[in-house]
């Protein structure tokens, strides 16, 4: 009886570790005329595969902010690459805005937040 061939292509992950010591630089641009004031702004993580493949991009997420400052109905309005959408949405959903006072009306406006993911040549470290 002819034996069936079994083949395994196995990936080895071995040592040579280096600590993930590179921090992402985050810059913020805030419009002073914003209806709602950001309380806690969470930055997305740069997707590992995007960094590996040297992919840059931009995502715009629009959302509503309820009276208590929580994010509602966040959705991607524009995206240059799908790889950035999930971290952008997660970052927006984890962010908060200042709550409104009892008599303050909830603005009838949607806020949008744009994330620009960029890679820049690493700065050389002087000895």
């Amino acid at each position: 009886m002819k034996r069936c061939a079994l083949t395994f292509a196995v990936l080895l992950f071995a040592g040579l570790t280096l600590a993930d010591d590179e921090e992402t630089v985050v810059a913020r641009i805030i419009d002073s005329g914003l209806e709602r004031i950001p309380l806690q702004t969470i930055a997305p993580e740069y997707p590992r595969k995007a960094r590996r493949d040297r992919i840059e991009g931009e995502v715009r997420v629009c959302f509503e902010v309820d009276r208590r400052g929580r994010i509602r109905r966040a959705a991607v309005r524009y995206s240059s690459h799908r790889i950035f959408e999930r971290p952008s949405l997660q970052a927006v959903r984890a962010s908060t805005f200042r709550a409104l006072g009892k008599d303050e009306p909830v603005p009838a406006i949607k806020s949008c937040r744009t994330f620009i993911f960029a890679l820049q040549p690493a700065e050389s470290v002087e000895p």
Binding site: R3, L12, F13, I29, C112, I116, F117, L119
Partner: protein
Amino acid sequence: MRGLLILPAMLWLAAVQAQSDDQIQSKTVLGPSNIFLYDGANALLAGDAEEGVPLTLKGLQVAHGQREQKIAHSNLCAGFLMLGQAETALEHCNWVLEIDPYNWRSYNNRALAYLQLKRYEESEADIKRGQELNPRSEKLKEVKGLYLDEVEPVDENITIDDRRSEPISPLEQPQ
């Protein structure tokens, strides 16, 4: 050495011998006749290069035919890479590629060996050749990422721009 987070070396492990060399392209099958190779591959799979490499060397000594030799050398290339002995790994990868120049896994492993040795141009050439043979290989993409981290390191920069807003329709008005 910057950016070497993982070592995505490739290992071949085979269980049952049934195909001729002509039938096998990127897949490799090894018979139970060579228990050293089999056990060595399992040890390497488990991440134990200290045990896997000596077993594979024994397997190479008793290898039957070129195909078993090829598997042994290929696994030794991966094993010595795990041990951080890139020069030795290189010799084994070279052996495989001399008799099988279409073996993308060995290009993958040899690119890693060159990377460890800081022979970047040769590493890049092997990555390119491997990707020509297997354009969709995630492992080769990983190796290319490691290569780029070495020769063109980058910093991540995320800008958060809050300047846009748009009206909500009356029906959507939050409570």
